[in-house]
Amino acid sequence: MKTLFLGGLAARVAPRILGKMTEKLDTSVLAELTDMQRLMPALAEAEIVVGHIWRSDFPEAPRLKLLQAATAGVDMIDLPSLPRGITLCNVFGHEPAIAEYVLMTMLALTHRLVDTMTAFRGGSWAAHQPAGGSAHGEMLGKTIGIIGYGRIGREVAKRAVSFGCKVIAANRSPVADKGDASEIYPLAELDRMLPQCDVLLIAAGLGPETRGLIDARRLALMKPTALLINIGRAAIVDEEALYRALSGHQIGGAALDVWWQHWSPEYPDRRPSQFPFHELSNVLMTPHCSGFTEGTADRRWGDLAANLDRFVRGEDLNNVVMIT
């Protein structure tokens, strides 16, 4: 079966995925999406495409049946320009790693780890009680509000309750199984949830209901001590409003793994925002890597390989996002 691994990410992980498959594929690899001379013939014959990007200017793909995203988010796939009748699947496997990141950053911000560690390395005992240091915070008894109660949100909740936290969530669609959360709000009632949260976690996908969801008005509904953690998508949060809320101490702090501006080959050291978040001491920042662990790679490429095997054998597929 003619399979095209398309884009830099798919091209890089193709050997690892193929190594986990039992069925045989007739594969080609094309890392460079703007190489139209090679893209046109490759898409003309591909029955399966593995990749996470589909642009509106792509040439026709008349034989395509399966678009297997190599990511969980499909927001870089231009859905209207996909051929009709194809199946779009995504992959997961990152949820335990991201849940660990969420707990790690809420602990680090609450315990003031980075400041304490940096000062102590420099010789200062300022955080030591007998030296007159002020007490830091703890997670016990805190309320964590999760926007988007999906796989990641549930994994976070499971860990957070072991710390004695209360977990509440807001979700677009009704949730049948609350898991470890004590209350689920419809997303339309988010404003009732926000004032309760000591930590607000954004774990939702990007879509019309979530784009710009956290704006200046909603940030003002949060506690002045609240922490905001974003591992979903940057565009869910209003960039300027968040910068102003953090620099003006309207909220307590933030841990950000997803950004409004990204690295590119021409601009490898590009700052992740037009605002200087890197100058704020109440921000922890990472380059969209919270889920990028060895464990995620094992789970994810194993699941992706198994889905391709299923497709070749004509079996039901996992993680179907939609049929166009």
Partner: protein, 323 residues
Amino acid sequence: MKALFLGNVAADTANGIKAELSPELQVDIIADPKELSPETAASADILVTNIWRADYPVAPRVRLVQSVATGIEWIEQGALPRGVPICNAYGHETAIAEYVLMVMLVWSHRFREIESDFRLQSSWRPSWVHSGAPHGEIRGSTLGIIGLGRVGQEVARRAAAFGCHVLAANRSPREAGDGVERIYPLTALDEMLPLCDTVAICTAFGPETERLIDARRLGLMKRSALLVNIARGAIIDEDALYAALRDGTIGGAAIDVWWQYPNAAEPERRPSKHPFHELPNVIMTPHCSGWTAGMVRRRWDEVADNINRFVRGEPLINIVTTS
């Protein structure tokens, strides 16, 4: 009945718990032990403190010593009447358990390097779309806890929720369970050490634990292992740990408790005779893992509860020993 709150920490405690104490109790507060008069000492039925020395005025009426700390090593038991129960106080165990999980996560996710490279140099290397090496996670890793007391049990419960395999070594025998898969006697510690991705020292300091972790035992650990110490510095051989971290015998360490502490003459005294602060594989904090506002409140509540129990003639909690 009269309670004497002696020393700075006890004076703070008295002010924090006054409203909770039984109304029939009289309270003396002496923040500076040098100002303790023989009359005040002689009239105390309950002594609330973290320090008692042989050169203090005698306190012959004392029937309860309530420590305001967990460790009672500064209370000279020979200087007290015989047969007096000495109780301690906790409340720090959840905060310290949070610290242990936090440093395990920070270590395996390579958080310090990734965060500071991104902040200072805008380095996107660890990102998905780049070709950087993935970092680790604690799910599926093995944690060995030395000392399954209050702190150790809180650590175990949280680590189990992360999908860690939890082992423990304890002086007295215990049943596995509550997140712990297997418990070794402390004498079989050498069997546990080679299995652990993280070793967390959560035991009290005493003759069996002084220099428990020496060069030989560090050599039994995995070369990638993280050693976490939130208990007492002297449980680890200082020279051996420095050498093991410098030479890569183990992967790294997260250290909150030290071999040297600051004093008035040397407020920025380094915490060890070795330059741990120059090693990149050390997460170091100044003995503050349990120092949270919540801990202070919980500890005060335990002290108040025990004093009220004594006044009402009810059984005491947290009895460590009897003088």
